[in-house]
């Protein structure tokens, strides 16, 4: 499973749970296996189990001390080699839900791709292109829904004025990452209002930016908890800080809501604090009418939306003029409440795009980055300058420990597909990479070539195929998910079926249901070789474990003539040894089971004739019915003539028939029939020289008896015919 070129420390499959520090040339740190065996270790054995599970057996070197024989001689452990989303935020059950849920959209998209490929000859490239883009968008939405429902604002009619932050379920990193990729790679609409898409993204996922350090979200949560206990809210610096924080990242509804909690709105105070209240309200109105370059305002969010850039620029300049005017207003002098005055003017400075005020009103560099779009570079379009801006923001607010989301954003802004994939892989695992590639290549021909070009170093496959193979291996590591691995493997044009064959071959055959499932997959993908192997393995397992009927059944399903013939041979050996009814009955059922399809196995033809012969022989045991005896002789002659009758059965057959040869009333065999049997006896003496010839378990005089009987019969037949 190759890892990425640009960064050797980030592997496609995070095999090690403790990746080495970036840039280290040294081999990765060893992961200690806790097996509880006292050192020294004699030897370690490994075996790959399902998918990328490794079984490790640690054998202990015996020492003098434990001559008593107690203590373990070793331990066998199963080591799971990565393969899931990072930080353990998604538990196993949830991961399986996502794995199963993403199969239908993935296979739908693959099916549509194949249809479009087939249509390239007849339809215009541009129409195919836009159709494909629609499909990818649909796929992306399906996956996005799978990762968690969109966070909707509270639907309650009566809002609690004290609830400034809507309580929503904590979003997952996986969803945040997927959403980020969607914004940059799929959502065509967002190219003109990309900054606003990022503002919305931050509103949804700000809480994920950092675990250890405060974010605007975490500070507002702190403020929210404190609000109810505050008597004079505007005296508390945290109140003003909260408003500036919310304003800095464009959460205007929170800004307005908080401002309206200001004490000057209270009925008993409004007369004394008229100017102060006017200023608070003016700022609230300005904030709520901020022009935004976006299609429409997200539900419940304030601001005036403009779809057209020139309208937006006009409105923006007018709005900025109003702020500047308020900033210079004489009313500030009349505002007696110091904190209110300072707090409001700070808000105005933020809206005017003052870097110092903005920097202190944000916690994380990503928040500062978003503030830049809102107040300093409102006319930014597309990716232009975003990367250098991000770098500048990181310098102003350095991160102590970066998480995968920010690495991913950096890769996207740097327009480096390999880094994006590496980040997806190391932070979110193979599921993410496999599914995200569809987004990366949807609108980007360069990435499409990079990811879908076949490479000799990878054994002739593309990076895309490689990631699918890797993901399929991860899926096959778990008994509950291996069954969906084939969906991904068949989407791999070069090596998918090869891996699928190996995967199916390694499934145990002890459980009937499992074998059926295995065979169903083989049939679906036309893997006849493997289904035949699976059936042979199942057949041999049952044959050797005393379930001969099941064994024969599976070997017949496998059309394994070689083994069926050998089974037939074994049957002869058992039934050929004696005419006793007991042993015959024991095998008769099996012969029945072997079926009447003579073509399946040559030996079967003989067995069936042999059974018929034995049955007719039983009918003549009392020695009275000449008709029955004649039928038995016909069966005997047929058997002796048939090329499928093994020579080593000739003598036992004749020995069984001595009674027929010596039939009292009249000779049952004519001259030519008797001659045939005699010539077979002659041949037998040469056949005995063959090394494979097994001597039947007959009395030593058997040959003599048969010869004598044949000679007598010949004599009587000659006389009769004469």
């Amino acid at each position: 499973m190759p890892s990425l070129v640009s960064d050797p420390t980030t592997s496609i499959v995070p095999v090690s749970s403790s990746p080495p520090p970036p840039g280290a040339d040294n081999p990765p740190a060893a992961f200690p296996i806790r097996h509880g065996i006292r050192p020294p270790i004699l030897r370690v054995y490994v075996s790959w189990s399902r998918g990328n599970l490794l079984q490790v057996a640690c054998l202990r070197r015996p020492s003098e001390e434990d001559s008593g024989g107690d203590g373990a001689g070793g331990k066998v452990l199963e080591v799971r080699l990565g393969g899931g989303a990072a930080d353990g935020e998604v538990d196993d059950a949830e991961r399986r839900r996502i794995a199963y849920g993403s199969v239908p959209p993935f296979s739908l998209l693959q099916g549509r791709r194949n249809l479009l490929m087939a249509a390239t000859a007849t339809r215009a490239h541009s129409s195919l292109h836009s159709e494909w883009w629609q499909y990818v968008l649909e796929y992306s939405n399906s996956i996005s829904n799978l990762l968690g429902a969109p966070s909707l604002p509270s639907s309650s009619v009566i809002e609690d004025p004290m609830t400034v932050l809507q309580p929503v379920k904590k979003p997952t990193y996986l969803k945040a990452a997927w959403h980020l990729l969607e914004i940059f790679y799929v959502d065509k609409m967002s190219s003109s209002w990309l900054p606003e898409s990022l503002v919305d993204w931050l509103a949804d996922y700000d809480c994920l930016l950092s675990k250890a350090e405060p974010t605007i979200h975490s500070k507002l949560v702190g403020l929210q908890n404190k609000l109810v206990y505050l008597q004079v809210i505007e005296d508390d610096p945290e109140y003003w800080e909260g408003i500036s924080l919310a304003l800095a990242v464009g959460w205007l509804d929170i800004v307005v809501k908080l401002l309206r909690l200001h004490g000057s709105y209270q009925l008993d105070q409004i007369d004394n604090r008229e100017t102060e209240n006017g200023l608070v309200e003016a700022v609230a109105v300005l904030a709520s009418t901020m022009p935004r370059m976006r299609p429409d305002s997200a539900m419940g969010r304030l601001g005036q939306c403009y779809k057209n850039k020139s309208d937006f620029i006009k409105a923006w300049e007018k709005w900025r003029g109003q702020i500047a005017k308020l900033d210079c207003s004489a009313f500030w002098v009349q505002c007696g409440h110091h904190r209110t005055r300072e707090g409001l003017r700070n808000l105005l400075q933020i809206m005017l795009g003052n870097l110092n005020n903005i920097t202190s009103a944000t916690c994380h560099w990503m928040e500062l980055f978003i503030s830049h779009f809102l107040y300093m570079r409102p006319f930014t379009v597309g990716l232009e300058g975003m990367r250098s801006l991000a770098q500048k923001c990181v310098q102003l607010k350095p991160e102590t420990n970066s998480n995968g989301l920010m690495g991913l954003l950096n890769g996207i802004l740097g327009e480096n597909t390999e880094v994006v994939l590496a980040e997806c892989s190391s932070a979110f695992g193979p599921w993410m990479v496999t599914h995200a590639i569809e987004l990366l290549t949807a609108e980007n021909d360069e990435a499409d070539i990079l990811l879908n070009e076949e490479r000799y170093n990878l054994g002739g496959i593309s990076i895309n195929e490689l990631h699918r193979l890797v993901y399929a291996q991860v899926l096959s590591s778990h008994p509950l998910t291996w069954q969906i691995a084939p969906t991904y493997l068949v989407s791999c044009p070069k090596q998918g079926l090869g891996l699928l064959e190996n995967l199916l071959y390694k499934q145990p055959v002890q459980h009937y249901q499992m074998v059926l499932k295995n065979l169903e997959i083989c049939r679906l993908y036309e893997l006849d070789n493997i289904s035949s192997s699976v059936m042979k393995i199942a057949g041999m397992y049952h044959w050797k474990h005393g379930r001969k009927g099941s064994g024969v059944y599976w070997l017949q399903q496998a059309r394994d003539e070689v083994r069926l013939n050998r089974i037939a041979q074994q049957l002869f050996e058992c039934i050929g040894k004696s005419v006793s009814d007991d042993s015959f009955k024991q095998w008769e059922g099996l012969i029945e089971l072997l079926g009447s399809e003579v073509g399946v196995a040559g030996g079967l033809e003989f067995l069936h004739k042999y059974r018929d012969f034995k049955r007719s022989l039983q009918l003549v045991q009392d020695g009275s019915s000449t008709d029955a005896a004649r039928k038995a002789v016909e069966s005997l002659i047929q058997l002796m003539r048939s090329p499928s009758t093994p020579p080593r059965f000739w003598l036992p057959l004749l020995h069984d028939s001595v009674q027929l040869l010596n039939w009292r009333n009249r000779p049952l065999l004519n001259v030519s029939e008797t001659n045939l049997l005699l010539s077979k006896l002659q041949e037998l003496s040469t056949a005995k020289l063959h090394p494979d010839f097994g001597e039947a378990d007959l009395p030593p005089q058997a040959l003599g008896y048969v010869k004598l009987a044949l000679a007598q019969n010949l004599g009587r037949a000659v006389l009769e015919e004469f």
Partner: protein, 328 residues
């Protein structure tokens, strides 16, 4: 990350897993072999299902027979004998491990063996301590007792020259793991001996037209021909235009590419693309995953290392597991 599956009895010397990794055979110093099973899909842990005395000396290696031929293991004993045991269950009789065959050899010891499945036949390659290799074929797919010697030769390229009798410490065999009716039988064999000519790993292929085994490639650079080979492993090929074989010598683990089409002289093109070092001391085992993309190695240093190639085809150590730790 790790989960305990089984505790082995005191005196465990060697072990081997079956094709699906759900059964394990463990050889002990007292000559017994035990079989541990984990056949319930819901639980990965193993429990012992059988134990029997396979030989008088210590068991040094156990190898499972391919599943198309039943549940059976081959045991190599410290005295160099090789015996085959098969699990059978007859009507109303309890399950037993039946002795099927002993491969006798008067003056040399068995060092390694591997089974290969081809079309309907089962082949067995056995490497002996005198540098000779014997290839047996199973005559009856239902009877593990009936074997025929198909060929015997020394692991040397030049079969005409006579070499002295080497003293071999160990040998390592790996069949080409590709299944399929049309597949040519081929395997790689390397020795750890005092005779340089037998040491280097050679690829042996069965030539149908002349019914003989021919060396079609040698996996050694000119300067490394004398290197003693510790172990070899042939990667499963799920569709690559070349084969990958890993060879461990005292110089490290070499990764070889082997072309699929012979050159004019009948030899297959070889290319050593990497030499990986990392184990402190001898490499004991090499094991490819089912896609042939990750190589696991174990060493005398008690480490398990995982190796992968990057997108440029550069091989590197991906991860390592330290089994020397001990206490839980």
């Amino acid at each position: 990350m790790e989960k305990e599956l089984a505790t082995l009895e005191n005196g465990a010397r060697c072990c081997g897993w079956n094709y699906c990794g759900r059964r394990m055979a463990v050889g002990h110093a007292d000559g017994t072999v035990s079989v541990l099973d984990s056949l319930e899909p819901s639980s990965p842990s193993f429990s012992r299902s059988s134990k029997w005395k396979a030989c008088n000396d210590s068991v040094v290696d156990v190898v499972w027979v391919p599943p198309e031929f039943g549940d059976a293991v081959a045991c190599i004993c410290a005295d160099g004998t090789l015996s085959l045991w098969e699990e059978v269950e007859e009507d109303n009789q309890p399950l037993t491990w039946k002795h099927c065959k002993v491969f006798e050899s008067s003056n040399s010891r068995v060092l390694d063996l591997q089974f290969g499945v081809f079309a309907t036949s089962l082949k067995l390659v056995v490497a002996y301590s005198d540098g000779h290799v014997k290839i047996y074929e199973l005559l009856d797919p239902l009877e593990l007792s009936k074997w025929q010697l198909q060929a015997e030769f020394q692991n040397v390229i030049d079969s005409v020259s006579r070499y002295g009798k080497p003293a071999c410490v160990s040998a390592s065999i790996a069949w080409n793991p590709r299944r399929g009716e049309s597949q040519q039988s081929s395997f790689v064999l390397g020795y750890n001996s005092d005779l340089p000519q037998v040491n280097s790993p050679k690829i042996w292929e069965f030539e149908e037209s002349h019914q003989r085994w021919l060396p079609v490639a040698e996996l050694a650079s000119p300067g490394d021909r004398d290197d003693r080979v510790h172990t070899v492993a042939w990667a499963p090929n799920i569709g690559r235009p070349y084969e990958i074989i890993a060879v461990a010598t005292s110089k490290g683990i070499a990764i070889w590419h082997l072309g699929l089409n012979p050159e004019s002289d009948g030899r297959l093109p070889t290319d050593k693309i990497a030499v990986l070092s990392g184990h402190d001391g001898e490499v004991c085992q090499l094991e490819w995953d089912m896609g042939g993309m990750t190589l696991a190695s174990t060493g005398g240093d008690g480490m398990v290392k995982l190796w992968q190639s990057d997108l440029n085809g550069v091989w590197h150590e991906q991860s390592s597991l330290d089994c020397n730790g001990g206490q839980q």
